[in-house]
């Protein structure tokens, strides 16, 4: 009498035709390994809680047999799929099953990184020293001198390296809880494999972390041998390169503690800056396009942001668009700000109505783009060598000097803000900008006082000298 294996489906209906036999070749290790996994799942009572990730290759059809939740992963990616699963169902049991081409070659980094993170799943690695279903090609685990369809002269270690010892590599990592190499080549070895597979699943049931079991497995078809011959190859040849042993069992040790992150509400995280909802059109507000430019570190982007914030608070349409990337790490920086009473078209500006330039390269680059009727304000200490286009008003402004005289030498940008307010180029009351300026230093309250002093001093200077 044949006793039905626990943990397998009663009939293998997912495969048309055959109801009680697997699709594996006679003497193949996959059937044995899957039976061991199935029985362990049943004995541990975890079938309802388990999601099994099958690989590609011969074992792609684990889901024909294993009576649990089943997910079929892409080639090499079962570990990454399992990592994704354990992150969203951390209290469940996740199992990934991969062959040696799948795990050792294309998906090695995904497996390695999952092991290094200690992702909580049982990882079964079936090593038969070649690609099975794909047609007996060389795998990273193929033995030195072994002939395969892609190493017809034998694996040449000079050009293709030595067999990849995955357990030994993973044993260098801190987070795996359990690492063992076993074999299913004969019944004595199968009993040890049974124990290791159970242990890996128990570790999952107890939520202890990542468990890796490498299983040496015969493939008679591609080893070009009968069942006995393939098993002998595994025990006699493969075990020389891949010795069977328990590399580690840290299931009795305390896992490291995670960093606690305090829970917060969505409203707290997505904190609103302003009351009220969508912005209405404001026909009385004229559209103004501003370009702020200078060296990175002069506060050019912040200057644009303070103005954008103030206008946004007042319910105007505003866009702020920075130069970004390498430019912001040393060279010139600029940002474009459009303030409008209606929906804004282009956030990039070809012709700024107002140009603020804090260094010479910016002044030379952008001054010619200012259209007639426009205004250009630049840091007084910058030599003006370019000629302003006709109809453009140009104001040198001692922003750096005012900032230094008021005890905040880095606040030249704030001085320019004061100048813009006083010249009426922002179409907003000074008080709104003063408040936006204070808001902009919310994270650095010590700087508020100095910046306000610079702001007021610059307004006074602009009023006296420019109006």
């Amino acid at each position: 009498m044949i006793v039905r294996s626990q943990g397998f489906y009663p009939e293998f209906e997912r495969k048309a035709g055959r109801k009680r036999t697997t699709h594996y070749c006679a003497g193949c290790g996959h059937g044995i390994i899957q039976k061991l996994i199935a029985e362990a799942m049943a004995d541990l009572g975890i079938q309802d809680d388990t999601v099994f990730v099958s690989p590609v290759g011969c074992a792609a059809f684990c889901y024909y047999y294993l009576d649990c939740g089943n997910v079929a992963g892409p080639h090499g990616r079962a570990a990454a799929v399992a990592s994704g699963l354990v992150r969203v169902i951390p209290d469940k049991i996740v199992v990934a099953y991969q062959g040696d081409g799948d795990l050792g070659a294309i998906g090695f980094n995904n497996a390695f990184q999952a092991a290094n993170r200690g992702d909580g799943f049982a990882h079964f690695f079936v090593n038969n020293a070649l690609y099975g279903m794909t047609g007996g090609q060389m795998a990273p685990t193929t033995l030195a001198g072994q002939k395969t369809t892609t190493s017809p002269y034998g694996r040449d270690v000079v050009s293709t390296g030595e067999p990849l010892k995955v357990c030994e590599v993973f044993d260098q990592l801190e987070r795996p809880v359990y690492i063992e190499r076993v074999s299913v080549a004969d019944s004595k070895r199968i009993m040890k494999a049974r124990k290791a597979i159970r242990k890996a699943l128990e570790i999952q049931k107890e939520g202890k972390g990542y468990a890796f079991v490498e299983i040496l497995s015969p493939c008679p078809t591609n080893m070009k041998a009968d069942a006995m011959g393939a098993a002998a190859f595994v025990s006699e040849e493969m075990e020389r390169a891949f010795p069977l042993r328990l590399f580690r069992d840290r299931s009795g040790e305390e896992p490291p503690r995670p960093i606690e992150v305090e829970a917060r509400s969505i409203d707290d995280i997505v904190s609103a800056d302003y009351e009220g909802d969508a912005i209405d059109d404001l026909p009385d507000v004229r559209e103004r396009r501003y370009k702020f430019s200078g060296f990175g570190g002069q506060g050019i982007l912040s200057l644009g942001l303070v103005i954008a914030d103030a206008a946004s608070e007042m319910g105007r349409h505003v866009s702020w668009f920075p130069s970004y990337g390498p430019e912001q790490r040393g060279g010139s920086a600029s940002c474009s700000v459009v303030v409008s009473g209606r929906e804004i078209g282009s956030p990039a500006i070809d012709h700024p109505d107002v140009l603020v330039a804090m260094n010479q390269p910016s002044l030379e680059r952008f001054l010619p783009t200012v259209p007639p009727g426009g205004v250009a304000i630049y840091e007084e200490s910058v030599p003006l060598e370019a000629t302003a286009p006709e109809g453009v008003t140009v104001h040198p402004f001692p922003a750096s000097r005012i900032a230094a005289e008021n005890g905040a030498p880095k606040a030249a940008n704030t001085a320019l803000l004061g100048c813009l307010v006083e010249l009426g180029l922002l179409d907003m009351p000074g008080e709104e900008l003063r408040r936006a300026l204070v808001r902009s230093f919310a994270a650095k309250p010590k700087l508020v006082e100095g910046n306000l002093a610079v702001f007021e001093a610059a307004r006074g200077h602009a009023r006296r000298e420019l109006l």
Binding site: P74, R77, S83, G84, V88, N110, V270, S319, Y324, G345
Partner: protein, 350 residues
């Protein structure tokens, strides 16, 4: 309630209000602020954030999370999105919901980090293998970076299909006022298809393999029917099109530039309008044809005619002149350039 937000941050805010459960991603300019904000905002909300070892891992982690019926996302730019294409195909084949954000940069190859729209074909035509489609939405403002992210999750879940938010470097880096969504998106129970390690879903299976050609074909036909049924979700915007003689058409940040150009042309007394597809797949075919009826068309894009080809494909009749104004390499097309081309077409036709 409003916030002054960067486009990339608005994507993360949209994801939060869509109820996204997990972010898996690998950083890349100009999309990284999406990862930065997700890393900051997700854990205190009990959501998962994991920096993956590569984009391939990220998309497959999403495959895993989606298998469990959870909503996940990633964000990247051209090179990273290229790496995810196999995973997109698997998500589509296994009918799993997931949201991928592409903040387009310049290509091909490493290119640079400036804005471009050269990922259009990869996104819209399906850059992976097999007969599949991704839902593709193209925002043109910070508000839409948020709102269309929510919409991507909604459609991804409704059709159990990957959805792509196709943005560009301008939209990712710019800041505008954002009206914050009200309330977290509701979603249907995925118990009838997902596999999450419980008795209700134990019988379910996530896979995309059918060994019998007839069964694989049936699966393909079913998918094609599903893609066809998405047509009703097409979204677009027509601006000042009614009496226009010349139709400008563009998506994403280019549409913003065209809007400025249309306003400037109208100020000159020239009758121009703008058609902007908001969904690139499904494409708003009927709406395009209505907007373009009897008009010459100027297609504006930051790529080599990829969008222009689709405009041609979707126009029922193409008997009027259709021209392309485009830039590449990280250069924005200027309003002036669009104006020049539009004026030339309008003058040539009168």
């Amino acid at each position: 309630m409003r916030k002054f937000a960067k486009g990339n941050e608005a994507v993360t805010i949209g994801a939060i209000y869509a109820g996204c459960d997990a972010y898996f991603g690998y950083p890349i300019t100009p999309a990284s602020e999406i990862a930065h904000t997700a890393a900051e905002y997700f854990p205190p909300l009990g959501k998962e954030f994991l920096q993956a070892e590569c984009e391939t891992a990220a998309i497959n982690m999403m495959y895993g999370a989606a298998s469990a019926g959870k909503l996940s996302m990633t964000a990247s730019s051209g090179p990273g999105i290229s790496l995810m294409q196999e995973g997109m195909s698997y998500l589509a084949g296994a009918q799993l919901p997931a949201v991928v954000v592409d903040v387009m940069r310049t290509g091909p190859g490493l290119g640079n980090i400036g804005p471009e729209q050269g990922d259009y074909n990869m996104a819209v035509k399906g850059g992976g293998h097999g007969n599949y489609r991704s839902i593709v939405l193209a925002p043109n403002s910070v508000q839409e970076m948020c709102d269309l992210t929510v919409r991507c999750f909604e459609l991804a879940l409704r059709y159990r299909n990957p959805a792509l938010l196709l943005a560009d470097a301008v939209l990712g880096q710019m800041m505008e006022s954002l009206t914050i969504p009200q309330g977290v998106m509701e979603r249907e129970d995925p118990s009838d298809w997902c596999v999450r390690g419980d008795p209700d879903t134990r019988e379910n299976l996530i896979c995309s393999i059918y060994l019998e050609p007839d069964l694989q074909e049936r699966h393909n036909w079913m998918l094609q029917d599903k893609y066809e049924s998405m047509q009703k979700e097409a979204m677009s915007e027509s601006y000042r099109c009614e009496d226009a003689e010349l139709l400008l058409t563009a998506y994403g940040s280019c549409a913003r530039i065209c809007r400025s150009a249309v306003d400037a042309l109208r100020d000159e007394g020239l009758r121009a309008g703008l058609f902007r597809p908001i969904s690139l797949y499904p494409f708003p075919r009927e709406e395009l044809n209505r907007a373009a009826a009897g008009k010459e068309v100027l297609v504006v894009e930051l790529s080599n005619g990829q969008y222009r080809d689709d405009v041609r494909l979707h126009l029922d009749a193409c008997d009027k002149r259709l021209e392309l104004a485009n830039r590449m390499g990280g250069n924005m097309i200027s309003v002036d350039e669009v104006l020049g081309r539009a004026r030339a077409m309008l003058e040539g036709s009168s």
